[in-house]
Every structure is written in C-alpha cells, then in structure tokens.
Symmetry: C3
Subunit: 208 residues, 3 copies
C-alpha cells in the first residue's frame, strides 16, 4: 500500500530526527547522533522481527533505509538550531509515525499467521521500541513507561485495526481508519495532557 | 511435567509482581508497570530462545502467558499497599521461580541437543535475565551483577541438574532434586547474607 | 585464516579484561565481573549474529570461548592491582581487537551473501557492540556514542576491506591491509586525541 509506505518513510525520518536531537542533548558526537537516530527509527521494527523470527530483518533487506535515517540525523545535527519553531510539526509527525509503525507491525505479524493478541503486540512493539531503545542508550528510564498516552495509542490503534479486519472491513479501509483514529487519539492526548494513573511511594511502603 | 509447569506459572506471577513493584517505585504509569512486570517474568526465557535460535519464542506460542503476567502486574499496582507484610512470601516465591526458570531453561537447551556448558548457561540466562532487563529499564546497574547469591544459585542448580542426569538419574527425580537443593541454597544465602567477593577501588588504581 | 584467529583470541581476552576492570569500578561481585567481561568480549558478535539470523551464535558453537573470557575476567579481578602500568598495552590490544572484530564481522556477513553496506555495518556492529552493551550494563551512556574515534575506525576498516576486495585484492592481503591501516588509524586517533564534532546545548534550544 503506497500511502502507508510514504507515511513510513516520513515516520522513520521524523523518528531519526527526534533521536538525533536527543543525542545532541546528551553531548554525543556525530557518529552517536547518527546511530541514535537510526536506532530510534528502525529499532522497533528490528525488535519485532527478532522476536517473531521474521528474517531477514527489514533494514538488512533494504539498506537504503539506513542511509535515509543516518542522513536525516546528520542533517538534523547541523540544522537543529533553525528548527526550534518546528516543535509542533515534530510532535505531529511523531504521532503519525507511531500509528503508522503500529499498523505496519500488525501487518507483518498478520502475514506470519500470528495469534490476534500477538498481532496487536507486534504493532505495539513496532510503535514503541525505537524510542525505548533510544532512552536506554541515553541512560534514562524509557519515557514510554512513565508518561503520556503513547503505548496506549499504539494499543488502541492495533486493537481497532484488528477489530475492523475481523468485522470484514477491507485491509485498505481498516488501515486508513486505524491511522486516522489513532492519530486523532494521540493529538487529543497531547492537547489535553491525558495520562494513565501512576502510584505514589506510600503504596509500596514495606516492599522496597 | 505438571509440577514444574505449576511452579512456572507461580514463578512468572511472582516475577511479574516484583517487576510491577519496581515500576511503581520508579513512578511508572499503569502501562509501564504492566510492561515491566511482563519483561521481568518472560524476559529470561525470551533472551534464551533468541540466543539459541529456538523459535517460536515461548509467549508467542502461548499468548495467555502475557495475560497472566500483565494481569498480575495490574492487580499488584492496586493492591500493593496491602502487601507490605508479604515481603517474605515474595522472597520465597522469587527463589522458587529462580530455580524453576533454571531447570526449565536447561530442559529447553537439552531438547535442542546443546553442549552441556550451553545447557547450564541456558538455565542461568533463563533464571537471571528477566531481572537484568527489568533493572536496565529502571536505569540501574543490574542487581544480579552486584550482590547476593542469585546467579550463583542458578549456576549451582543447573550444574547439579546436569550432573544428576549425567549420572543416569531419571529426569523427574533430577529436576526435583535440583529444585529443592537450589531453593534451599537460595534461602540459606538470603538468611545468612552470603556474598561473592567484590573488589575495592584501590585494586584498579591507574586503570581508570 | 590463522593470523586472524590468533588476533581474535587475543582480542576477546583484552576485551574481557577491560570489561572486568569496568565491573570492578562499579562495585560488581565476582559473578558480575565475569559476566561483564564475557558480554564485552562476545556481545558484538552475538548482536551481529542475531541481526543477521546467523545461527548458531558463535559462542554456542564454541563454548570454550566462554571459558576463555570468564577466565580472563576472573584472573583480572585478582591481578588488577598489579596491572596499573599496563594501561598502554591495554589500549593497544583493544585497538587491535577493534579492527580484528571488524574484519571478522565483515567476513561473516560476506559469507552470508549480504549487501556491501550490510557487510560494513556487520563489521561495525561486531567492533562496537560489546563495549556498548558493557556500558548499558554499567548504567552509563555508551562511550562509543560520545567520544574518541572508535566507531569511525571500525567504519574505516570495514570500508577499506570491502574496497580492496572489490578491487580484486586477495582476501588474505585485504584483511592484513585493513587490520594494519585500521590499527594505525586508531593509534593516531588516540595519540592526537582526534574527535568527531559534537554540538552544544544552544543548538537544540526550543526542541527540548
């Protein structure tokens, strides 16, 4: 599907740029910035493929993706100072990337004949593990485990996609509907600062 | 073997609860808590299966394990405040889980016809990598590398199991003997605070 | 090729020792030290094999490598206090290991018929991921992403090796030429403190 493919390229570019900015913030050198951008962009799909045993891994079959992500990170390093008014654009493209990654991840697992629960999980992993690996390399507790409706958006998108397919909706319509709904959910979650519950230290008193 | 399977379910529940408590301590939200519980419970077996090329990975074949671990983590998040007098129970079930994971890991590698050293290592990896991944996601140096006889218990359990099999003892008896001995070793190690040697900063002077 | 094999054994010993010293610095116990040494020495090749789907993973086929690396780490723990004048030797053997790992990683990918870009990347991953995993286990931002020409040396070595092979140079000569050139590059980079550019906080103002 060409639309999904275009969105995918847009998404890995946006993720590579976000990874690059995080690398700059951590004082990484030019290699670290390119590698962090690449891991952020392609890490989710890689973890999914390894867990599913789906070889060859995506970027090994398409090494041009690496040029794409490393190039986007490299450019970001030199133009970041001019991007400060693009924060909102980043947030939107990142949200689009999240839902696109999720739908693509579901499709991969569907193609392998996986159990419906594993299909949704493959979407979730594709959506969130790039950022999770980025945060581990930056030596911090992954953002996705702490705040914002990010993983929840991926879960919602994957569940909606699977439900539509199960209801007999055509694959194209189901993926567009999941993309649009998931993206709107993400935008609303950011706009209204929706969060999942957390717990306070008193709740675990005596279990430390 | 039904006993081992029952202990396994008990063990992944205990590990998921311990992961959930760690996630609460780090201020994770409900998704992070469920994911950390699941990684703690199923991470060791997953790393083992990926290293051995043993596909499909356990929980992909049995997605119900995921419901089990995420459910245990979810419940833990809401009842943790009532669990503070259960510390000792946790420690015991965690010790049982460690030795059960080890014996199960050995069995998987045995089934693949691996070298005896790899069999013991597969047991060790199954026993300790869940907690190791949990600690990485919590942004701290893995506990298993620093303190307590934890990995040592897994190594002892695996070595004893393999020795008994090598001596011609039946698989059932060998696994029960390894479980009981390993569990006792762990309980004694905790009770008497047994530790492996560490080294002090003076020992590495000039090599920093 | 026997020369490369000898250098490989030297290299995993040196890497295991460097991992052990890092583990001692972090207050790890004897198990942690041995495991960190082993991960540092064998982690790069393991990540490469998993990404390429190249099973069985090296040390599973050759468990004697594990005895080698764990043994080197164990010995290091007890003799580290006498090694402080060997800092320069470590640095040289580590540089040799880096280029040897890179050439070996390229050879593995070549043997699988991978795309030239993936061959160079397989060399890079083999060269740097041991140290990267070591730093993650030590809870710090991987050194290779931040400073020194380390990854750059691996990239240079892999690119030179592939260029020579592409020009029709025999495999033996190409690997020796890549080893020698890469090693000299590394020595010069350390001696003159060559670095890749980093960026300052002002460059990412408004993107935090």
């Amino acid at each position: 599907m060409t639309l999904l493919h275009t969105i995918y390229l847009l998404a890995i570019t946006a993720e590579a740029m976000s990874g690059a900015i995080m690398g700059m913030r951590r004082g990484m050198d030019l290699f670290g910035i390119c590698m962090l951008g690449t891991v952020t962009a392609l890490g989710g799909g890689t973890v999914r493929d390894i867990l599913l045993g789906n070889y060859p891994v995506g970027w090994i079959q398409h090494p041009e993706f690496l040029a794409f992500t490393a190039g986007a990170a490299l450019v970001t390093a030199f133009v970041a100072r001019y991007l400060h008014h693009l924060r909102m654009v980043f947030l939107l493209v990142d949200g689009l990337g999240l839902v696109a990654f999720t739908v693509i991840g579901c499709d991969v697992a569907l193609g392998l004949g996986a159990h419906p629960a594993i299909v949704v999980l493959a979407g979730l992993i594709t959506g969130i593990f790039g950022g999770l690996l980025r945060d581990i390399l930056c030596n911090r507790v992954p953002m996705v485990l702490r705040r914002e409706l990010y993983a929840t958006v991926a879960l919602f998108t994957g569940l909606l996609y699977m439900t539509l397919l199960w209801l007999g909706v055509s694959s194209n319509i189901a993926s567009v509907a999941a993309l649009v709904s998931g993206f709107l959910f993400r935008v609303l979650a950011v706009a209204f600062d929706w969060r999942l519950p957390t717990f306070n230290r008193r709740d675990i008193r005596g279990l430390d």
